[in-house]
Symmetry: C2
Subunit: 341 residues, 2 copies
DNA sequence: CTGAAAGCGCTAACAT
DNA sequence: ATGTTAGCGCTTTCAG
């Protein structure tokens, strides 16, 4: 690699001082037009690019915000990332997108990396429910916003979706179709949202005068398609076989769908299916999936806005808040069938 | 934010010099055990975290590699990212994942950002075919590897998949099923791979003694599901309606599938469909999709390895290479039907 | 084995 | 309007 050209060389080439070059870059209006042009010419000729690291070192913080998600293979998080990135780039900030893959150690690693980078702030969907890694992280004084999780304490902002409501919408719909009971295919119950969605399901059951025993439970090891296939197999082994299933996310539902197809069962006639997230592929599934839609892009956007507010000029006037958005049920073929009693 | 604790404070607290603290961090073996412990204690107590920016400033380059993809919403690229990330993290490097969204200006912006960050190297699937933004970027002397594209010049490495072969596999299969002609749903023809896949399709036609006129052409504006829906509608307006369709990627195929379903056509009886990429959702589609599988994770891995080789210790022994991987046809329901002449 | 000091490239006072 | 200069926090000679 050729020698890196710095501000100093540009200054010499243009016959000015380094301070002037800096001014041309950061406060162009404060410098005489003629000088500005000369400096700009030198910059172009030498191919000068300012060093972010030097800049950061002086500033004490970087121009990057980090986004740490649970699963990049889940389109839901891609949407969240899209929303966040849009906001960040509008403020000339870069986004470092990372995937903890639901591993607490990966999460801790990344958090450590962010601290070393002195990132401006981090948007995170924590994998570590104990809050251990986050508690450690808080020491560094780097602001963070929880995404898709409610922050338990008052130490920061969070943007989430009402998962209890989502569960209720799903199961209420299923019961309205005439199903006498429902199975819940959960992800790991260590995930708050899996608990909440179950909670919501129970609430819907209660509305219908049913108790907890009307909710069969299958817990998948992960929130992805293969785990869904396994859950589907488990569903098929149940007796009596459930006629309606609510899945903790669409990936799981897609997996269940595959298992049902492999067993030559029809959806929704033999089994009605509701997913969660309403990812793009839900509508493209073997049987278009009824799903609980989450305002993912909006969540990413709001989270980033909250973070910028906390790290920006008006930081002092910032009040931590917990924003809770509402999900919405999107009915499609996978439940469109009225069961006869 | 509390005052940032630096190496200096740690040194004072431990009663040693800054140089010693640095040694404890970077070359622990070179320091007396007793001293090491004392310093470590100070580090823990003060919650010291080393500043990457200061470190980089000295080193002249960062510990981050950038990955710039065309479309984060495409699971194919998520797989590529997974492969690359795995390699990077094994070498204690961070990955900055960015999405050019097929926009040349976004791409140029990101490339500029990478240059400022002095990233260790970049893996890129270029959106700008003219090579303009990359030519500009090359000045900075930052190594890069093309992913899913062949690098035209000998200025760097590339890892790609043989798209011509992929197109041939797809269309050869369709012809073998008895279809007398084939439609090709392309993405933007400005994309090399869309051209190559078409090329491959033509080759398969030629094998069967057919010429270019046997390939109907629909060009979608983007490589995503909505564009596929539009392409599907275009297919339906054709007369005679094609009986076999090869799509430039799975997202497009999924969109076409939706359009066919909306029109109550059956796949493969009324129209056979082949996709490309074999994303996870291809198998979960309304009709499981025959698709050309790309070794995406492997591509990401190899690209990262090439980059590390070029930026690592053995940099001098590095020879630029163009690795071309082979795709593979995965046959599923969407073409599983023998047409009678 | 440990300490002292130079400087990486930049910005922001301050001085002219 | 422009020049000079002091660090930001760290690594790395070079002495001791």
């Amino acid at each position: 690699m050729a020698h890196t050209v710095g501000i100093k060389e540009v200054a010499r080439q243009a016959g000015v001082s380094v301070g002037t070059v800096s001014n041309v870059i950061n406060r162009p209006h404060m410098v005489a037009e003629e000088t500005r042009q000369r400096v700009q010419a030198a910059i172009d000729e030498l191919g000068y690019v300012r060093s972010e690291s030097a800049r950061q070192l002086r500033a004490g913080q970087s121009r990057i915000i980090a986004l740490l998600v649970l699963d990049m293979a889940n389109p839901f998080f891609v949407d969240v990332a899209t929303g966040a990135e849009r906001v960040a780039r509008a403020s000339k900030l870069g986004v470092m997108l990372c995937n903890s893959a639901q591993s607490t150690s990966e999460e801790a690693d990344y958090l450590g990396l962010f601290a070393e980078q002195r990132v401006r702030g981090v948007l995170v969907t924590p994998a570590d429910l104990s809050g251990r890694s986050l508690t450690d992280f808080r020491r560094h004084g780097i602001p963070f916003v929880f995404v898709d999780r409610v922050l338990p304490s008052a130490e920061g902002c969070s943007v989430s979706v009402d998962d209890v409501l989502g569960g209720t919408l799903a199961v209420r719909h299923l019961l309205a179709q005439g199903h006498p009971e429902v199975a819940y295919v959960s992800g790991p119950m260590s995930l708050q949202q899996c608990q909440d969605r179950r909670q919501g399901a129970l609430a819907a059951l209660a509305e219908a005068g049913l108790d907890e025993s009307a909710l069969r439970h299958v817990e998948a090891a992960r929130l992805d398609v293969p785990a869904g296939r396994e859950a589907g197999a488990a569903l098929l082994r149940m007796s009596p076989r459930p006629s309606a299933v609510f899945c903790a996310n669409d990936l799981l539902a897609l997996g269940v769908l595959q298992a049902l197809f492999a067993a030559e069962l029809r959806v929704p006639q033999d089994m009605a299916l509701v997913g969660y997230d309403d990812i793009e592929f839900a509508a493209a599934a073997a049987v278009p999936l009824t799903s609980v839609r989450q305002p993912a892009v909006r969540m990413g956007r709001q989270a980033a806005e909250l973070l910028l507010e906390e790290t920006g000029e008006a930081a002092q006037s910032h009040r931590h808040q917990r924003i809770v958005l509402e999900p919405e049920l999107v009915v499609r073929e996978s439940t469109r069938w009225t069961r006869r009693a």
